[in-house]
Symmetry: D2
Subunit: 422 residues, 4 copies
C-alpha cells in the first residue's frame, strides 16, 4: 500500500506520521510519499518522519519529493493538506475582514471565501494529475474549506472524500465524559463542514441508544464551556451540541469584538512554526514534540487512518463522518450539495446514513450556507469580481451590499497574485 | 354577492371602498359588511363609505356592525385587515428592537414576530367563526405578517389566500415606465411575503416576452432610487428587482442607523390617523381624501377586487400574485411552506405557475426565512419563551443568542396583554 | 436641631433613619420632617421611621407632611432626595438612549441629561422656598445628577453642598481591606460627581502616608473585580482607582452591549419597591429590612450625618468628600465649576483641600465633562431644543451630531410633561 | 536669503516651488536647498524645480543634496515636510485602526499617534542638527501631526513654528464667496491643529467687522456641503465653521462606516505618485502639472512664503494662523500647550492675538485633545507600551480600554522598525 501526502512539508505532518505509526495494523503502509515544493522544510519534516517510523518499528519507507507527478505515481490514496499562500495568506484572511466589521477567519465568512478562491484551482490541478497518474486512487481532502473543495473535486468527477476533525474530536470528548471507548460512540452529526450539530450520541452503533440527553444533563456545562457558549443555549437548541464554528454565527458580534480587541494571531503562529522547524532539525528528536498539540488538528491522523483503511478495503470501523454528496440525505438541500454526515464507508466510497428530520433552526441556516457555497465555488471556478460579490452577499454573516462590496475589493487586493483572473 | 371586511373601521377602508366602487363591473358586490369592535370609528368610516358608494352610483348596501358572527353570516368572502393592539403596538414593534441594535419593523425581524404572536390566535379565532357561519366562504388575508398568518390559516384547514400589494405596485410602476396597461404585465415574482424578487417582467401573458433587461437598461436608476438601493446592485443580483423589504437585509446596518437617528414614526402616523378621522366625519366628504394616499397600501383595493372576483368565479385576470402553499413550486422549500408567487386563480383557489430555476443568491435566504416562519408560527400557536427565542435565533437578521435572548424578553414584556401564555 | 428631608417618602428613607438613629451622638436631631407629595407612601415610610427611632431609643420627633413650606420652616438643614417623574422616568432614561446605540443610565449620558432637565427647575423652586422660610438653612443635595444640581444651586446663591456615596463607599471598602477603621482613611478623591478617581489613600489624616500602592499591590484584583474592570487597567491609569461610573467611559461599547442584551431593570426595581412598601406597612417591623441594602445608596446616611454635623457646627470629622465650587483646586477648570473632592467642612461650608497635579489622562476627560455640565445646566435653566442638542453634542459619550439629534428628539418626546418649554 | 526644505524630494515640492516663484517679491530666495535621502526621486523633483524657476524667470539657485548637515548650513529658515515610513506607513495608519472599529486617519486618532511616534524623534534629530549648524535659523514645520511635532520642537527649545493649510484654505474660500481679496480676510481661528473652528470672519484687519453671520446666511449650504456636514449643524454650533477634521468627531461612526465600506486609498495615492514622478522626468515639463492639485495641500506654498517672509523680517501680512505656545490665549489650557490661532508674526516669532471667550462646546473637546497630545508626546519621547496605551485611552475617539489595548498592539506591530524602544 502506497500513500501520498501533498503538502507533506507542513509542520503538522509529524502528527500524521505518529498516527500512521501507531495505527499501522489498521493501515499497513508500505510506502509513504511526502510531496512539497518547499524542499528545505520538506527535508526537516521528512527526516523527523523517518525517525518516528524507526523508533516505533514501522517498516514503511518514507520518500520526500518536490515532484508532484512522481510523488502520486502508483499511490492508492492521496491526502491533500496544503495551504496556498501559506501562513501569510491566512494572516491576511484573518485581518482585512475586520476592517469592514466582519469576522476574520480562515474557513468562515469572507476569509474562508478568499481561501476557497486561492485553493480550488490548485487542488483541481493536483487532482487532475493524480487521475492521470492513477485513475483509481482515492483523494482524501483535509484542505480547507473542506466543503467547497470537496464539492469542486466531486463536480469534476474525482474519487474524493472530504475529512474534518470536528466529529472525531467530539467522539473522543464524549467517550471520555461517558467513560467508554471512542469506537463505541456514533454521532448523528449533520450539516456542512464547519456548520454542524451533534443531534444524537449513540452507543454501540449507528442505531444505538441516544445518550445525548443524559450527556448534556451531566456534562452540559463542560461541553458548553469548551464551545464558549452558555449551557442554556444548548438546551434551547433542542438538546444538541453545535460545533465550535457555530459560535461565529450565534455570537457573531461578540467574536468580532474579541478579534478586534485582541492582537492578531500572526506572530504567535509564525513563532510556533519557526520553533517547531528548529526542533525537527534536531537528529535526536524521534517523536512528535508536545508543542505540536497546540497547533490544532487533534485526532486528524486517527481520522485519516480510519478513512483511508475503509476506502482501501481494509477493515476497521466503516462508520465515519465525512464530506460527500448529499443525495437526498438532507431532503431540504440539492442532491449535489456536499454535506458532512456519518456515512458507511467502503471501497465503493461513502454512503450517508439516514437521519431523522432536521430542526428548522438548523435546516434554514444550512440551506443558506449551502447557497453561499454554490456561489463561492462558482466564483472559484470562473472568477470575476461580480461572482465574488454575489458569494459574499449570499453569506449569512455578510449579507449586506456595502460590506460585500468592500470585502470584495479587499479580497481581490490581498489575493491578486493567487487569482488568475484578477 | 356579499363581502365582509373584518377590521372595517380602519382609516384605510375608504381606499378599499373606492376600489369596490370603481371596479363594480369586475366584482358586483350586493352587500358589504364592515365589522369592527371600535364602534365610534366604524360609524365615521361607514358613513364615508356609504357616501362614496352613493356618489359613484354603486347600488350595493353597506352594513356596519361590531358583531363578528352576524357580520360574516352568509358572506361569500371575508377580508381580514386587522391590527391587534392598534398603532400603539406597532409603535412598540418599531422601537424596542432598536434597543438591541436590531431593526424595528412591523413585519420583518423581531417586531414582525411580535405582530405574528399577537395576530395569529386572533385570526384563527375569526376564521373558525367564519367557517362555522359559512364553510364555503373564502378568507382573503391582508393582515400582516401575511406569510405567517396565511400559513396558520391553511394549516388549520381554512379556505384562505394571502394578499400583499408589493406585486401589484411593481406591476403598475413597470406598466407606467413601459407605457403599457397594467393588465399586460405578468411578473415572475418569487419568494415569501415581503421577501421577493421580480425575476422577469413579461408582456401579454405568463409566458410572454421578458422585458426586464430592457426595463432595467432604460429605467434601472429610477427603480433602484425608489428602493433606496444602488443601481449596480440590481445588476449584480442578476438583473432582478428586489422588493423594498429586501433593503432590511441588503442594507441592514444602514437601516438600523437610520431608524436610530430619526425620531420614531409614532407621532406622525397617529397625527395622520386623527386628521383622517376628522375628515371622515365631514358629511360633505364623499370621496377618499388625498391624504389617504400617504398612509401606504397603494393598489390594495384593486388587488383585492381582482382576487375576490377570481375566487368567486367572476371573470377578470386569473393570474395574480398571492400567498399560498408551495407544493413544489420552489423545489428547495417544503411543500407546506407558504410562498408568494404568481398563480392562476379560480373558484378552486390559486395554483402557482411554474418558475425557472431560482438563483442560489435568493434561494438560500428564502429557505432561511422559511425556517424562521415555521418556528414563528410554532411560537404563535403554542407559546412559550423558548419558542420565541428559537424563532428569533433562526431569523437571519437576528441569529445571535444574546440578541435573541434580549429581544425575547422585550417582546414578552411589551406584549404580555396580547399573549395568553405570558 | 431640626432637619427636613424633601422626598422623605422614598423607599430609601428607612436607611437614612437608621443612620440618624445610630449616629445620634454626632447629629442630635430633635425634629425630623419628612416632606413628600405622595401622602399614602409617606405614611408607610413615616410609620416605619418612627418605629425605628423608638426601637433604638432615639428621642427625636418625626413629622410627615406634604406641605413643603411648612416642612422646611425652621429647619437647620434640608436634605434633597427627590426623583422627578419617579421610577417610571428613570426607566425611560435607561431605555430610549439604547435605541440610538448610546448607554441608558440615570446620571451619565443622555439619560442623565434628561434627569437634569427634569430636576433642576424643581430643585431651584424648593431651594427658593427654603431660603424664604429660613435663609440660614443648609441645603444638602443627594438628588442626581448631583454635580449639575449643586452647580444650579450655588449659581443661584444658595447655601448648598452636594453629596454622593461613592467616596464613603471606597473609604469603607479600603478600610476593610486594610484592617483599619474608616475614619482613619483620607482619600485624594478628584473629579466631578460620578467621574472621579482615588489617586491616593492616606492614613491618619489628609496629609497621611499614601498606602494606595500597597493596597493595589495586595488587593488590586478584588478592587478591579468590583469595578468590572481588568486589574491591569488600574496599573496603567497610574495606580489609581476609578469610580464605578468610569466604566461607562472606559468600557462604553461593552456596557451598551450588556444593556442591550439584558432585560431592562424596570420590572426588577418596581417589584422591589412594591415589596418594600408592603414590608413597611407591617406594624411589627421596626428596623430597616435587609432587602433595602440591594436598592443601592450604601453609607449614604453615614455621609449625610457627618456632613450635616459638620455644617451645623457639630464636631466629628471635618474632612469629607463633597460637591462644591472649584475655586482653583483643579487649575484646569473654571473657578465656578462644581467639583467633587475632599474638603474641610465647617459651619462656613466646605473648603477643598489642595491636590497634587492631575494626570492629563484624567484632566482631559474632566474638562470635557465639565463643559458638558455647563451646557446641560444652560439647557435645564433656559430650555430649548438647540440647548439640549448642544449639551449632548458636548458629551464625550455622545459627541456625534446624528446621535445628538436623535437623542434630543427622544429626550423631549419622553419628558414633555416635565419640560415647561417643550 | 537661503531656505532649506527637508523632505524636498516629495512629489509635493513643485507646488512649493511654484509658490516661491510666483511670490518672489515677498520672499526673495537666493538659494533653495532640497534635502532628501531618496536621491533618484530628489533628482527628478529638483530638475523640475529648476525648470519652473527658469520658466518664471526666478534667479534663485536650487541645490539638491542628501546630506542634511550640508543642506542646512547657513539656512535662514528650514522647512520640514517629511513622512517617516513614506506612503506605506500612511497606508498602515489608515488601515489597522479599522480592525478595531476606530477611524484610520493619518493625523487624528490611533493612526495619528502612530505618525507622531515615528516622526517626533526624527524631527528632533533634524532640529538639533539645524541648531548646531545655525542656531538662528527658523524651523517651519509642515510635518504632521503638526500640533504634537511643534510642541516637541518648542519643548526642546527650538525656534519653531507649526504651519497648516486649513486656515489659508478657509481664507481663500471665504474671500471667493464674499468677492474680496484673501488678504482682506482675518479669521478668529481657534483650537488645536486639525481641531479648529472659525468663530469670526473679519474684514480688513484682526479687529474688523465680523461678516461670518452674513456669510453663513448666504453661503451656509455651500460651506457645509464642502465639509460633508448638515448646514443646520453649523447653526447649532453657534454660527461657526468647524474644520473638515471635526467630521471625524461629529460624524465618527459614519466615517468609520465609510472607511470600512470603501477600498483603501493606498493604491490610488501610490498610482498618483508614480504618475507624477513620470511627468517630472519629462525635460519639457516646466510648470507644476494639474494632477498635483489632487494630491492635497492647497495653498501651502502661499502660507509658507507668508510665514517665512514675516519670520525673516520681510514685510507682508503679519497676521497668520500658526501653531505656537498658548501662553494664556486659551485660558482653559496650560500655557505650554501648542494651539493653532491667528498670531502677529515678526522676526521675534508669532504672538497670538487675543480671542473672545470660547464656547464650552469647543473648549471641552480642545481640553480633552490637548491632554491626549501631552500624553502622545510623552509616548513619542519616552516610548513604552503603557505610554502608548495611555495616550490612546486619553483620546476622545478611542477612550475605551479594550480598543486602546488592541490599538496599542497593532500600532507597535506595524511600526516596530520605526520605534527604537519596541
Amino acid at each position: 500500500m502506497k500513500l501520498t501526502v501533498v503538502g507533506g512539508g507542513s509542520t503538522y505532518t509529524p502528527e500524521l506520521i505518529d498516527g500512521f505509526a501507531r495505527l499501522r495494523d489498521t493501515l499497513p503502509i508500505e510506502e509513504l510519499v511526502l510531496v512539497d515544493p518547499a524542499a528545505e522544510r520538506l527535508e526537516l519534516v521528512g527526516g523527523l518522519a523517518r525517525r518516528i517510523f524507526a523508533r516505533q518499528g514501522h517498516g514503511g519507507r518514507i520518500v520526500t519529493t518536490s515532484d508532484l507527478d512522481a510523488g502520486v505515481e502508483g499511490a492508492d490514496a492521496v491526502l491533500l493538506q496544503l495551504r496556498v499562500g501559506g501562513q501569510a495568506a491566512r494572516q491576511q484572511d484573518e485581518t482585512w475582514p475586520l476592517e469592514c466589521g466582519c469576522i476574520g477567519q480562515e474557513t468562515t465568512g469572507a476569509g474562508g471565501l478568499a481561501k476557497a478562491l486561492r485553493t480550488v484551482p490548485v487542488v483541481l490541478d493536483i487532482a487532475e494529475r493524480v487521475r492521470r497518474a492513477n485513475p483509481n486512487a482515492w483523494i482524501i481532502d483535509f484542505t480547507n474549506p473542506v466543503g467547497i473543495v470537496t464539492r469542486a473535486l466531486l463536480q469534476a468527477g474525482h474519487k474524493a472524500v472530504g475529512l474534518c476533525n470536528v466529529a472525531i474530536g467530539f467522539q473522543r470528548k464524549f467517550a471520555n465524559l461517558l467513560g467508554v471507548t471512542p469506537s463505541e460512540i456514533h454521532l448523528d452529526h449533520l450539516g456542512l463542514n464547519h456548520l454542524t450539530w451533534e443531534t444524537a450520541v449513540r452507543l454501540g452503533g449507528p442505531e444505538g441508544e441516544n445518550v445525548l440527553p443524559k450527556l448534556l444533563g451531566e456534562h452540559g456545562d463542560t461541553i458548553a464551556a469548551d464551545l464558549k457558549l452558555p449551557p442554556a443555549l444548548l438546551d434551547r437548541l433542542g438538546g444538541v451540541v453545535p460545533s465550535y464554528y457555530l459560535r461565529y454565527y450565534y455570537a457573531h458580534d461578540e467574536v468580532v469584538r474579541e478579534l478586534g480587541t485582541k492582537p492578531s494571531r500572526a506572530a504567535e503562529v509564525a513563532a510556533m512554526e519557526k520553533q517547531l522547524l528548529e526542533m525537527y532539525g534536531d537528529p535526536a528528536l524521534d517523536e512528535k514534540p508536545e508543542l505540536l498539540a497546540k497547533r490544532g488538528g487533534a485526532y486528524y491522523s486517527e481520522a485519516a487512518v480510519d478513512l483511508a483503511a475503509a476506502l482501501l478495503g481494509g477493515g476497521g470501523n466503516p462508520y465515519q463522518v465525512v464530506n460527500t454528496y448529499n443525495g437526498g440525505t438532507l431532503p431540504f438541500l440539492p442532491d449535489d450539495a456536499v454535506i458532512e454526515v456519518q456515512a458507511a464507508v467502503g471501497a465503493h466510497g461513502p454512503v450517508p446514513m439516514p437521519l431523522p428530520d432536521v430542526d428548522p433552526l438548523f435546516a434554514g441556516l444550512v440551506a443558506n450556507v449551502t447557497a453561499y457555497e454554490e456561489l463561492a465555488l462558482e466564483a472559484a471556478l470562473r472568477g470575476g469580481r461580480d461572482r465574488v460579490f454575489r458569494a459574499l452577499l449570499a453569506h449569512p454573516l455578510v449579507g449586506q451590499y456595502e460590506y460585500a462590496d468592500a470585502l470584495t475589493d479587499r479580497l481581490i487586493a490581498h489575493n491578486r497574485e493567487h487569482l488568475a483572473w484578477a
